[in-house]
Amino acid sequence: MSEIIKQNDEKIMTKITKDLTHHLTTRPLGFKLWIGFLLTFIAVAIWAYGIQFEKGLGVTGMRDYVSWGLYIASFVFFVAVALVGMLISATVGLLKQKWIVPVSRVAEMIALAFVLMAGVIIVVDMGRPDRLLNVFIYGRFQSPIIWDITVVQVYILISFLLLFLPMLPDLAIIRNHMKGDLPKWQWKMYNILSLGWVGTPQQYKILHSTVRVLLILIVPVALGIHTVTSWLSAMTLRAGWDSTIFGPYYVTGAFVAGAGAVAVALYFIRRFYHLEEYITDYHFDKLGQLMVLVALVYLYFNLNEFWVPGFKMKTADAKHLHTLFSLHGEYGVMFYLTQMFGLILPIIFGLFRRFRKPFPMMIIGIALVVGAWFKRVIIIIPTLIHAYLPIQNVPESFHEYDPTGIEITITLGVIAVAVLIVSLLAKFFPVLPIWEIAEEKGVDIERDL
């Protein structure tokens, strides 16, 4: 009897392993072109950054009024998307939602890549990056900037651990079974990274308990990272930022962006790696439900964020709201398009099961991510244009903000790096947790590795 089970187990295991690791061995042309495309982009951005480094931030559109432009808006965007790691982990770790298992590693990959770029773009935003160390030498504990830097670094570490730890058994499987199929360097890499995993009960015990602790730890840390990011604005005395709900407003906004990013990534991974059997309509359906849920909460915070000051119309707030809500305001059109495509329509479509299928979900995901980026621009920049007290004797042009080509190139370049990191991680590592999926299917992995 147990012989049969064992044979059966082995068969399932072999199939899963083969399906989930196949992409490690291939290098299709499409992938090479994609990476080449990203690298070209990044190269242009590095050239643009060279100019900025040499000439200073004067080559950007930022001036005395708008001193946080696309860079900081993108910083907030990166942090927001990175929060998906926590969203998914919390759903698994705290709510015990099993459906999310295949999604979790993709989420962690996105989280790690984006939070790394959040750190990078802060440095890009510095006119004198050589003075970065001063932040640590002279930073004040009273400053939200220090809290932010602390929590971003902590989040990078946890994201890395949450990506790496659950991958150990998979790496060992590849090491054990695929020596012949892989280039030498690649196998060696897995060999080293697998840390000599053999899958003893003891090792599994350590793995489970550590991951469990981290899954819990990442929840407050992730809330912390985005709350503190929101405080960077909310603790500055400005119309449009002067809000007590900025923390939850940012966090829920981040969940929406993150859910979108995961949907997009899952769609392409499923398509190109032919994983239809593992990432099914069911997963997209569940992901869609989660997306609608967080988007509704976000909508609720949007309502608060605009309706409450809009009812009182304090002078500066009124000016700020005018720039957003009037079609003649500087950001009116962008605001309505963003809210429509980045929030309202996704909610409406997401309510129907018909649209919670892979392809529509991918489209909705793109709308959410692009919308999230524009929303960060809308949160950061219009506020800066309307200071409580005007700065005296500045040129007329300082009252507006027009990002320069260099600035846009660099911003897109950093986004490209984030996408590149996700692409590489998803190419060179198993995107779905082999051992967890096997365990789902009833294979006794501890014995079977």
Partner: protein
């Protein structure tokens, strides 16, 4: 050319504005129409009237100067020293104008200033109109302007710490050249401030010892306890400025002292520092523990 047309249009619109505000009317009580000053027209009442004028009227009417016609453009408050106003208004009419205002630019002072004080203000206004004839009764009581006849030599300021008073001591010579303490000379004392000067007294007369002493109250000083006082007597015949030490120094709490959110890093509030360090260190400790678990896993590898 264009400019002058604009000017004309401007003038017309201003006149229209004035015409619109001309609906505002002065109200004169019949019984008061021909009334004469109801306080004595003397130096004391004029001085008292000046003090009231300075505090209640000057903000709008500014300094009074004797002129033929009002030299200030409406709708701002007129120069009340102009002869046209002075000659066409009786004391009683002035009284009514001050009491009731005109429902326009001039506010009513009926309740804000007592009747006696209103008459004193009018006495002060009249002092700029040489042709003014007070009623015989009140002129008789008018006091001479300066009781001291002679030359003033100097004015000296000191601080009387026992009574917390600033003392101005005059010295001078009488008509025969004898050194005396001038009595009945008007003295003005001011404390210097960043903006404008704070009057301690304006036109206070010296006593028999040639002294004027004014209570100082609780004036803030500089950090070493000094204030700068200026004094002059008999319309600037003599004047002085001195730095007086009147306290042991003004002690203020420097908002940069102590632990605050806005202070430098070394002065981080303790609660914040402790919170930050506790949270950060505990989280880092857990992460370090997690990395150590990697090491433990590695130690359990196949050898």
């Amino acid at each position: 050319m264009k400019k002058s047309i604009l000017n004309i249009i401007g003038l017309i619109s201003i006149s229209l504005m004035i015409a619109a505000s001309a609906q505002a009317q002065w109200k004169i009580d019949d019984g008061l129409k021909d009334a004469k000053l109801k306080v004595d027209y003397n130096e004391d009442n004029i001085t008292a009237g000046k003090a009231i004028y300075d505090s209640r009227c000057k903000a709008c009417h500014r300094d009074i100067v004797t002129t033929e016609k009002n030299d200030r453009a409406l709708p701002s408050a007129p120069n009340l020293g102009n002869k046209e106003f002075q000659s066409t208004n009786t004391d009683g009419e002035m009284f009514c104008k001050i009491s009731y205002g005109n429902g326009g630019g001039m506010p009513p002072f009926e309740k804000q200033i007592s009747d006696v004080d209103k008459w004193k203000v009018i006495a002060f206004l009249r002092s700029y109109y040489p042709a003014y004839k007070a009623s015989t009764a009140s002129t008789q009581a008018a006091a001479p302007v300066n009781s001291f006849k002679g030359t003033l030599n100097a004015i000296k300021l000191s601080y009387d710490s026992e009574n917390n008073k600033v003392v101005a001591q005059l010295s001078g010579q009488d008509g025969d050249g004898n050194i005396v303490n001038p009595k009945g000379v008007k003295v003005s004392i001011y404390v210097k401030r960043y903006f404008g000067e704070l009057p301690l007294c304006d036109g206070e007369k010296t006593d028999a010892n040639g002294m004027v002493s004014i209570p100082l109250g609780n004036l803030p000083t500089d950090t070493l306890g000094f204030i700068i006082v200026k004094a002059s007597a008999a319309n600037n015949a003599v004047s002085t400025e001195s730095k007086l030490k009147v306290s042991d120094g003004y002690h203020w709490k420097n908002p940069l002292d102590g632990r605050h959110l806005w202070a430098v890093r070394a002065k981080t509030p303790l609660w914040l520092l402790i919170t930050y360090l506790t949270v950060t260190i505990s989280v880092l400790a857990i992460i370090a523990w997690a990395f150590f678990q990697l090491f433990r896993i590695y130690n359990l590898r196949e050898r």
